[in-house]
């Protein structure tokens, strides 16, 4: 059994088509995962990502339909994402709503809103397909395209695919090197400590949610006007949740999240290639989701093992119990921490 399957996997994964589609699938996921990452860094598990993506996909397609310009479509997605981010931040931070409930509410509301507007504004059911919707331009890299094999994989993607990779670097830089980023990280650990250290906690949180909304909505735009030229109900197909898993799997560290996204995108690419094989399609469609779960379990196991090692190391450097401190009586020499 394992012989034919592994042979099939090798055959599939070594094809150029596989690498091409991995890259294509990665872009929307990556934007959304970065959106999830920044909210995770202020301590919020952002289930609204799926909704941001749906809204981004819908408004990008709708605005492109009306204006004829995919760039204005992208702008519409950005505005929609920013507004939704603000709404979610307001519900969670100002009104004190439960983050998961609010996030799920936003996701449900967005898919409902898209379906409603589709019917009311466009008089369509299920999908908006029109020649008036154009895709964002594809990039043709002058030197790269001539490199054999690699050129075919790296070259010729939608412009946002390259932007998404740049965003990984930008997010990493902001988190590590700017005072805004330090504030974000401190809030994630302890909002009280951050406030006490002089961080503008509320403002930072709202900004992060706007950023999160914009990133995820751009990911959604990539789904509708990146390669395809249509909007369809449910077209994000839970990618927001997969992106969320990628952020968790990558421990909200940009490079690790990128790696997780590539793994998940590869899983989808495998599914696409396998569709033409004899493997049952239901099984094939399950692959990306099953892989998401497997990856998270694996990472949790690794992390737990590492934490255990770390707690032993800490114990060795910290002779005194943390609580309560020993008020050692005079004449007794306690082991000093120094």
């Amino acid at each position: 059994m394992s012989g034919p399957v592994s042979a099939l996997v090798v055959q599939v994964t070594s094809s150029a088509e596989f690498a091409q589609s991995t890259m294509s699938f990665a872009a929307p996921l990556l934007f959304a995962a970065l959106g999830a990452l920044v909210s995770q860094r202020v301590g919020v598990f952002n289930v609204g990502i799926e909704g941001f993506m749906t809204a981004g996909a819908f408004f990008a397609a709708a605005a492109t339909y009306y204006t004829g310009s995919p760039w204005l479509g992208l702008l519409a997605a950005i505005v929609a994402g920013a507004l939704l981010g603000l709404v979610m931040a307001f519900c969670v931070f100002a009104l004190g709503g439960d983050e998961v409930v609010v996030g799920l509410g936003i996701s449900t509301a967005c898919s409902g809103l898209a379906a409603y507007l589709l019917l009311v504004v466009f008089d369509r059911e299920k999908a908006l397909i029109s020649p008036k919707i154009h895709t964002l331009p594809k990039v043709d890299l002058p030197v790269v395209r001539d490199i054999p094999v690699l050129g075919g994989i790296v070259n010729g993607h939608s412009v946002l695919a390259y932007v998404s990779l740049a965003c990984v670097a930008v997010v990493a830089y902001v988190l590590r090197r700017t005072s805004f980023g330090l504030g974000v990280r401190c809030i994630g650990e302890s909002p009280e400590a951050a406030a006490s250290a002089g961080v503008r906690v509320e403002r930072t949180r709202y900004l992060v949610f706007v950023l999160s909304g914009v990133l995820a909505a751009v990911g959604g735009a990539q789904v509708s006007i990146g390669y395809l030229r249509l909007f369809q109900e449910g077209m994000t197909a839970g990618q927001g949740f997969i992106a969320l898993s990628a952020s968790v799997a990558g421990a909200a560290v940009p490079v690790l999240v990128l790696a997780a996204v590539l793994v998940f995108a590869a899983a989808r690419a495998v599914a696409v290639v396998l569709v033409t094989s004899s493997v049952p399609p239901q099984f094939v469609q399950m692959v990306p989701y099953a892989m998401a779960i497997a990856a998270i379990v694996l990472i949790a196991l690794v992390r737990r093992a590492r934490q255990r090692r770390r707690s032993f190391a800490l114990r060795a450097t910290r002779p005194e119990d943390q609580r309560p401190p020993s008020h050692v009586a005079p004449g007794v020499t306690a082991p000093s921490a120094e």
Binding site: T178, L182, A197, P330, A334
Partner: protein, 499 residues
């Protein structure tokens, strides 16, 4: 550089509790002003108001005559006020330098420059620290050092220390006091909060005493002494000693531990062949330096940790392998060291916390239902008997002061007159009055024939209340000494393995 912090007429209410009542206080550059008072006197609240973590209902916070009342901490910070918190406000996963840069106004940061400044400041104040160390990996005393350096990094001229020595060992405390003396000579204004009077007398120029939210006394340090301060802190309270003054009427064994072997938990100490006996009407103290098995012993004796070998008998009944409920049913009460996490449920009311020991009692049940009225009456009696200071038993236990929380625990644990009481750090962090009350409770239990096992890191406390002291060293009994033969020196030698 900022040099004078003055608070005038500060009033702050939390619900029905008046935490600060028209409090005024001033500290000038080049001096140390100590704020003393018992738990719940309102010291921390006042300092949080000064730093902007709470907004006062009335009154003003002035830095060099500029009002910063009700502004967030970043305003206090930019006016040169730095605070060293009791529970540090550092991000544990970030490096020392990153923590210093938190809240910087500029977007882009110069890390090399920041690192240089951290080094320069830490050299200047002789408080060495590695700028690239991750804070969570540093010992507590060094974390505190990072907080102090962060205040200087932000060019603070006014430093507020909220009970800084409560997390430090004796040696570290002396070190900190020496540093504070240097800050003073450097022209800084220092506000020092503590309830440890020897430290206060050693470092302060001026002392303010608070009691129940008000300033009750203020004096220059050379015009006062510890006895004077204690009198003002506790009011009309007259100190007297409990414990071994109660004649010990040792009877039959209440708690017998024989050949106890316990495996080491993930991070901890294994117990090997521990034997001890607590007779009824006797207080046995466990003396040990932290990490020598006292925590594991208590866990094994209360059913919180499994026992590998040996036997434990409580009130004549074998309880070795019973769970916590089994130990409770066998008349073993436990007052844990970690009150906030193990002793009480902070979110639940005082009633709920005490009712935990009532609801199984048939007296408070009717079929499937609880007799809530009867329980409420009983809790109210206990609140009065144990002088728990609360407006009502519906208040969450987490809102009480440390002393009142311990009274809640005592009320719950001692309400059914247990034959064996295991008390860990019974008076740690408590004010004098709450500590005396607790000693009184233990003494009366002892008189009524309970066997009491006290684990304390405070040797003076053990010498005062215990009849017999058992010393643990590396998970074994290093010796058993009758209290009248015990001295700090002798116990100290046994605790460090020297005897």
């Amino acid at each position: 550089m900022a040099s004078t912090l003055s608070l005038s007429g500060i009033t702050k209410r939390f619900g029905s509790v008046l935490a600060n009542d028209d409090v005024s206080l001033e500290v000038r550059g080049g001096s140390v002003h100590a704020l003393v008072g018992e738990n719940g006197a309102g010291k921390s609240t006042l300092m949080k108001i000064a730093y902007g973590l709470h907004r006062p209902d009335a009154g003003e916070v002035l830095v060099d005559d500029v009002a910063i009342t009700g502004q967030p901490p970043r305003t206090a910070r930019s006016h040169g006020v730095g605070m060293v918190h009791q529970h540090f406000s550092l991000a544990a996963s970030m490096t020392v330098t990153e923590n210093m840069l938190l809240g910087e106004p500029s977007w882009r940061l110069d890390f090399d420059e920041a690192r240089r400044r951290v080094r320069a400041i830490s050299e200047r104040y002789r408080m060495p620290v590695d700028p690239d160390a991750v804070v969570g990996n540093l010992p507590v005393s060094i974390q505190q050092r990072v907080e102090i350096l962060r205040a200087f990094f932000n060019e603070a001229g006014i430093l507020i220390f909220d009970e800084p020595t409560s997390v430090l060992s004796h040696h570290e405390t002396q070190e900190l006091l020496a540093r504070i003396d240097e800050f003073r000579r450097d022209g800084k204004a220092v506000l020092f909060i503590s309830h440890k009077l020897p430290e206060v007398m050693a470092i302060a120029d001026e002392v303010t005493v608070m009691r129940r939210g008000r300033v009750v006394h203020r004096a220059a340090a050379d015009q006062t002494d510890e006895a004077d301060l204690v009198r003002h802190m506790v009011g009309d309270f007259v100190s007297h000693r409990h414990g071994s003054s109660v004649p010990s009427r040792r009877g039959s064994a209440a708690l017998e531990v024989d050949g106890l072997v316990v495996d080491a938990p993930e991070s901890g100490t294994a117990l090997d062949d521990v034997a001890l006996t607590v007779r009824s009407g006797e207080v046995v103290g466990i003396a040990a330096i932290a990490g020598n098995g006292q925590t594991e012993l208590v866990r094994a004796l209360t059913g919180l940790a499994p026992v590998r070998a040996g036997s434990v008998r409580a009130n004549g009944v074998e309880v070795t392998h019973l769970d916590v409920a089994g130990h409770r049913a066998g008349g073993v009460a436990h007052m844990p060291a970690d009150r906030l996490h193990e002793g009480i449920n902070r979110e639940r009311s005082v009633f709920d916390n005490i009712a935990l020991r009532l609801y199984r009692d048939p007296e408070y049940r009717r079929g499937l239902f609880l007799r809530r009225g009867a329980m409420q009456r009983r809790v109210q009696e206990l609140v009065e008997e144990y002088s728990i200071r609360v407006p009502s038993a519906a208040v969450p236990a987490g809102a009480l002061s440390g002393g009142n929380q311990q009274r809640v625990i005592a009320a719950r644990e001692l309400l059914d007159q247990p034959g064996v009481v295991i008390a860990e750090e019974p008076t740690w962090g408590l004010d004098v009055q709450a500590a005396e009350f607790l000693y009184g409770q233990l003494a009366s239990l002892k008189e009524r024939g309970a066997g009491i096992l006290v684990v304390s890191s405070d040797l003076d406390e053990l010498l005062e209340i215990a009849d017999t002291i058992v010393v643990l060293y590396r998970g074994r009994v290093a010796g058993t000494v009758p209290a009248e033969e015990a001295t700090v020196e002798r116990l100290g030698a046994m605790m460090t393995g020297a005897a």
